[in-house]
């Protein structure tokens, strides 16, 4: 079951994929072992709902809360910041490591890590209960993104999410609270793939409340590859 946990990224990377995506959209992107998946808040305060699948076995996928608890036990993360992204039982492998996270490291201040690690994204039922039954949701975005790799929501579990830059928390009573993201324009976060992965994500379309600072925005994404690989090195 075990795999190496601490893969150290080499110093030099080059961008091999660079794309800007519109607000309120979903997408899947392959990320090979050793590559970095980078998300950039190119238009400002915006949440990215992100999960990863093992590219060779879609039954193995990121498990948000398991990662939060395992991170807490190791002193490397929790519900508001993560270092190691574990997969679901029975696998429990490290799929990816966060190798650069200025917001989570406290550059933008705040009382918390600035992310939200949760088994949930915005859905049709959630928006119905909020009084906006016809609004687009992350659920719609994930349905689109999953279809790109031949999956349906019935066949998988897209609700186990690294809510990147979602500045929410659970208060002492157990109520979920919401706040405007700490992230600022052009801040980024880097995920180093430990195995061949598919990143599946939603640029959250929620327009009500502070999650996206009341205005959904587009985002930019990059795949980076170690320089050595491009030059034939190992």
């Amino acid at each position: 079951m075990s795999r190496a946990v601490d893969i150290q990224p080499p110093g030099a990377y080059r961008v091999i994929t660079d794309l800007s995506l519109p607000k309120s959209s979903g997408r899947s992107l392959p990320v090979a072992e050793g590559q970095i998946f980078r998300a950039i808040a190119s238009e400002g305060k915006q949440v990215l709902d992100l999960t990863f699948f093992n590219a060779h076995n879609y039954r193995e996928h990121f498990s948000a809360e398991l990662s939060a608890v395992l991170g807490s036990m190791q002193g490397t993360g929790g519900y508001y910041r993560l270092t190691r992204l574990y997969s679901n039982p029975p696998y429990e492998n490290v799929l990816a490591t966060v190798v650069d996270d200025p917001v989570g490291s406290g550059v933008r201040g705040g009382e918390r890590g600035g992310h939200y690690i949760d088994d949930g994204h915005c859905t049709g039922r959630l928006l119905e209960f909020m009084g906006f039954p016809d609004d687009r949701t992350c659920s719609d975005n994930f349905a689109d993104a999953l279809s790109e790799i031949g999956l349906r929501q019935e066949d998988t579990f897209d609700s186990t999410i690294f809510n990147v830059w979602m500045n929410s928390y659970t208060d002492e009573r157990g109520d979920m609270q919401f706040a405007v993201p700490l992230v600022e324009t052009d801040d980024h976060i880097d995920f180093l793939a430990h195995i061949d992965l598919v990143a599946v994500f939603s640029i959250c379309p929620l327009r009500h409340g502070p999650c996206n600072d009341y205005q959904p925005k587009g985002m930019r994404f990059q795949i980076l590859e170690p320089e050595l690989n491009r030059e034939g090195g190992s």
């Binding site: 508001y80 088994d119 209960f129 928390y169 157990g174």
Partner: protein, 215 residues
């Protein structure tokens, strides 16, 4: 218990069992000796792809004003279904944990590699219904009687305190659809999750007893 008792099952310490509960019936999950966590998975009895969400059910319950991440309201199924599966009707404790059950990796980090975990209990119980762990959404569970605290600041680290549930405590649900409920009597006697020792969980199912039809 609400209704006429039709089934009583004792889930032995550190083991897992699955029970079917028909729509409209009452499910009671209770302590035998006290201080024991019961982790639950909930599946549509006729379509196992429709499965309960744990923490997100807390979010939906919070909007409805009937629960949150610690206080259980309604268990909803995952997307794209998002339908009520179980709703709490009585709860003598009122503090639970909607989140991961204990796993092999957790036991390893607790210094007890190879120790039995809820993952093993679920695997055993699911196998009796032709299912594997990969077929279900774990590790997000309805961890009844678990007593954690998530730090609202910093990294959001989690601390598990021993359960406060005594031997007479229970949670009662009404089934909103026909469900298969997988119950793990959590085998973690390493951390404080079960107060350092594991005991049984008592599961009871009842159907409503109607009075005579009015003349």
């Amino acid at each position: 218990m609400t209704g006429r008792l039709i089934e009583r099952l004792v889930v032995p310490p550190s083991s897992g069992r699955a029970v079917r509960v028909l729509r409209g019936r009452t499910l009671r999950v209770g302590q035998e000796a006290g201080g024991q966590v019961a982790s639950l998975l909930v599946l549509n009895a006729h379509d196992h792809k429709e499965q309960g969400m744990a923490r997100f059910s807390g979010n939906l319950s919070q909007i409805q004003g009937i629960g949150n991440h610690y206080r259980l309201g309604t268990v909803f199924s995952k997307v794209p279904y998002e339908r009520p599966m179980l709703t709490v009707t009585r709860d003598t404790v009122g503090h639970h944990f909607l989140g991961p059950h204990c796993t092999a990796r957790m036991m390893e980090l607790l210094g007890a590699p190879g120790h039995r975990s809820c993952t093993d209990n679920y695997a055993d119980a699911l196998a009796e219904h032709g299912l594997t762990l990969e077929d279900v959404y774990t590790p997000a569970s309805i961890n009844l009687f678990a007593n954690p605290r998530v730090d609202p600041t910093g990294d959001g680290s989690i601390e598990f305190l021993p359960p406060t549930a005594g031997k007479d405590d229970y949670v009662e649900f009404v089934a909103e659809m026909d469900v298969l409920v997988v119950v793990s009597a959590c085998p973690d006697d390493v951390s404080s999750l079960n107060g350092g020792s594991c005991t049984a969980i008592v599961v009871q199912i009842a159907e409503l007893r109607y009075g005579p039809r009015p003349a």
